[in-house]
C-alpha cells in the first residue's frame, strides 16, 4: 500500500552500527567517501572494501537488502562502465568493426564501477542503520557551530523532521483526493501532456488547502506545547559519545592513514 513507503530506507535491527552516534556515522561516511577518491589503484580498494565489509557485517543488514539498494543506480553503473570501456585508448584486446576494447579501458571501467558501488553502499549504510529523525538530530548537532554565523541550524533540523513526519500523511491525503476525484469521473491516465497537467488541478488544489490546514493546526499545537525555538530546549535522547564511538573514530583515522600511505608508497 502507498502508506507503507518509508523514506531513507531504514532497516530496523539491533547492532553496534545502529547504536553508533549519528554524528560519528555522518563524519565516518564523509571520510569514507573522501578515502574512495584518494585511492588510485585496486589495492587501495582492498582496504576500503575490507573496512566496509566489516561495517556491513557488524550492521546485521542482510546483503540482499543492500544489493536491492543498488538497483536504482544500475543504469548509471552500466552506462559509465560501457562508456569507459569504449572511450579509453590503449592496448587493444578485441576489435570488432569500429568498436575496440582496450586493456586500459577495461581496467578504468572496473575501477570506476567499484568506486561507485562502494560509494553507494557506504552512504546507504548510513541511512539503513540510522532512523531519519536521529539523522536529523545528528545533522543539527554537527551544524551547531554555524549558529555563530546566524545559520538557523535548529530551524533547519526541525523543518526536516516535520517534513519526515508529514510525508506519509500527505501521501495518504493525495491518495484519498485522487480516489474521490476518480469517483467523480476524473481521468488521470489518458490525454496529451496538457490535458494530463490540467487533470492535476482537482488534486493539487485540495492538497494545497489540506497542507495549509495541517501547517496552521500544527503551528498552534506546537505553541500550545510551549515550543519557542531552539534556545533553552533540551533533548530526551542526549547525544553522548560512548567508547564504541571513539573506537569507530580511531578506526576511521587509521584507515585514512593507511589509504594515504598506500597511495604514496605502493
Amino acid at each position: 500500500m502507498i502508506r507503507d513507503i518509508t523514506l531513507g530506507q531504514y532497516y530496523a535491527a539491533e547492532s553496534v552500527v545502529h547504536r553508533v552516534d549519528p554524528r560519528v556515522k555522518i563524519i565516518a561516511t564523509l571520510l569514507f567517501i573522501a578515502e574512495l577518491f584518494i585511492v588510485d589503484d585496486f589495492k587501495g580498494f582492498i582496504l576500503c572494501g575490507g573496512a566496509m565489509a566489516l561495517a556491513v557485517a557488524a550492521s546485521k543488514v542482510p546483503l540482499g537488502f543492500i544489493m536491492r539498494g543498488l538497483k536504482p543506480i544500475l543504469f548509471i553503473l552500466m552506462f559509465t562502465f560501457v562508456l569507459n570501456i569504449f572511450m579509453i585508448d590503449g592496448h587493444i584486446l578485441v576489435k570488432l568493426w569500429f568498436i575496440k576494447i582496450t586493456k586500459e579501458g577495461l581496467l578504468t571501467a572496473a575501477f570506476m564501477a567499484i568506486r561507485l558501488i562502494l560509494l553507494i553502499i557506504g552512504s546507504s549504510l548510513l541511512t539503513f542503520t540510522t532512523k531519519p529523525i536521529i539523522l536529523t538530530d545528528g545533522i543539527e548537532k554537527l551544524l551547531a557551530p554555524l549558529k555563530a554565523f546566524k545559520v538557523p541550524t535548529h530551524e533547519i533540523a526541525m523543518m526536516m523532521s516535520i517534513a519526515l513526519r508529514f510525508i506519509p500523511t500527505l501521501i495518504e491525503e493525495t491518495d484519498k483526493i485522487m480516489k474521490a476525484q476518480q469517483a467523480r469521473g476524473a481521468d488521470f491516465e489518458s490525454g496529451n501532456i496538457m490535458q494530463r497537467a490540467k487533470a492535476l488541478i482537482p488534486i493539487l488544489v485540495p492538497l494545497f488547502i489540506s497542507a495549509f490546514q495541517i501547517a496552521q493546526d500544527l503551528a498552534m499545537a506546537m505553541e500550545a506545547r510551549c515550543y519557542r525555538g531552539g534556545t533553552g530546549r533540551t533533548r530526551m535522547h542526549a547525544m553522548k559519545l560512548m567508547r564504541r564511538d571513539y573506537f569507530v573514530a580511531i578506526g576511521l583515522v587509521l584507515l585514512l592513514g593507511l589509504v594515504i600511505l598506500e597511495r604514496i608508497y605502493l
Binding site: 500500500m1 469517483a183 469521473g185
Partner: protein, 284 residues
C-alpha cells in the same frame, strides 16, 4: 435495478510479505430502491467494499453485477460504472477545488460527458435536493461556506452525476447535531426523489436503525450478519463481541433486562422503548 455481489475477495499488497486479506468471500444482494446501512469498526473492510462497488478497486476474485452490467468484467469501461454508481467519501468537503459552487458540482457531469444545458438544469436540481439556495450559493467560492454546507455541496457534486446507486461513507462524521440531522433528512429526500439505491456507512446505530431497510455487519473483512435493523439489533451480545453496539434506546432496554426487569425483545427506536417503559411503569 439491483446489485449482486458474489465471492468477492480482495487482498492488499498481494505477493508482498505484509499482504492483507481485506475482503473475504463476500456475498450479498441489494434490491431496487433499498436503503442499506453498513456497520463495522474501523478496519473491518467497509471502505474497501464500497470502493469495489464503484470500480476504484478491482477484486482478487469474485464478481459484482450492477443492473445488467458485470462491472468486474476485465474491459468494462470505468466511465459507465461512475455513471451508475456515485461514491461520496468520508469528509468529502476535501474534494472541493473549483472557483464556484456551481462549477464544482459541474465537474462530475462534465467528466461523464453530460450536455452543457442539461448540466446547468441538474445543478439547480441537486442544490435543491441538498437544501441549498441556488441564487445564494451557486456563484460563491465553496471555501467560503460553513463545514456543513461544504459537505452538502460535495454530496451535490456526486448527485449531479445522476447515479442510480448512491454510496455514502460516513456522511455525518464530525458534524454537530444540527448539521447531522440535516444530512440525514437530505438522504431521505434524495431517496424519495431519485428512487435510487442508497448504501451508507455509519457508526451511529440510531441512524442505521432509522434509515435502513437492510443492515450489513462487517468484521475482519467478512460480512458476518445481514438483516433488517430489528433482526440485527436483537443480537446485542454478538454485536458486542465484535466491538459494536445497539442504538441508545435499545441499549437502555438491554441494560434493564440485564438488571432483571422483564422487557420485550426487538426494541430498537426511541418510540418503542418509550412504549415498553410506559407499559412497565404504569402497571406498578
Amino acid at each position: 435495478m439491483s446489485i449482486q455481489v458474489r465471492n468477492l475477495t480482495h487482498i492488499y499488497g498481494k505477493g508482498q510479505p505484509d499482504s492483507q486479506l481485506a475482503l473475504e468471500n463476500i456475498n450479498f444482494d441489494i434490491y431496487d430502491e433499498e436503503i442499506v446501512g453498513i456497520i463495522g469498526h474501523t478496519g473491518s473492510g467497509k471502505s474497501t467494499l464500497l470502493q469495489h462497488l464503484n470500480g476504484l478497486l478491482k477484486p482478487e476474485e469474485g464478481t459484482i453485477v450492477v443492473g445488467n452490467d458485470e462491472i468486474t468484467a476485465p474491459n468494462f469501461p470505468m466511465r459507465n460504472i461512475r455513471k451508475k454508481v456515485g461514491l461520496v467519501f468520508q469528509y468529502p468537503e476535501y474534494q472541493l477545488f473549483e472557483e464556484t459552487v456551481a462549477l464544482d458540482i459541474a465537474f462530475g457531469p462534465k467528466n461523464l460527458g453530460m450536455p452543457e444545458d442539461e448540466i446547468w438544469d441538474r445543478i439547480k436540481e441537486v442544490l435543491e435536493m441538498v437544501d441549498l439556495d441556488y441564487d445564494e450559493v451557486a456563484d460563491k467560492s465553496p471555501f467560503e461556506l460553513s463545514g456543513g454546507q461544504k459537505r452538502r455541496v460535495a454530496i451535490a457534486g456526486v448527485l449531479a452525476m445522476k447515479p442510480q446507486v448512491l454510496i455514502l461513507d460516513e456522511p455525518t462524521a464530525g458534524l454537530d447535531p444540527k448539521a447531522h440531522k440535516s444530512i440525514l433528512e437530505m438522504i431521505q429526500r434524495v431517496h424519495e426523489k431519485e428512487k435510487n439505491i442508497i448504501i451508507f456507512v455509519s457508526h451511529n446505530m440510531e441512524d442505521i436503525a432509522n434509515l435502513s431497510d437492510k443492515v450489513m455487519v462487517m468484521d475482519c473483512g467478512k460480512l458476518v450478519m445481514v438483516g433488517t435493523p430489528k433482526e440485527i439489533f436483537a443480537q446485542r451480545d454478538r454485536l458486542n463481541q465484535i466491538g459494536l453496539n445497539v442504538p441508545p434506546a435499545a441499549d437502555l432496554i438491554y441494560k434493564l433486562k440485564d438488571a432483571g426487569i422483564p422487557m420485550a425483545d426487538g426494541v430498537v427506536s426511541m418510540e418503542e422503548a418509550e412504549e415498553e417503559l410506559y407499559n412497565y411503569l404504569r402497571k406498578k
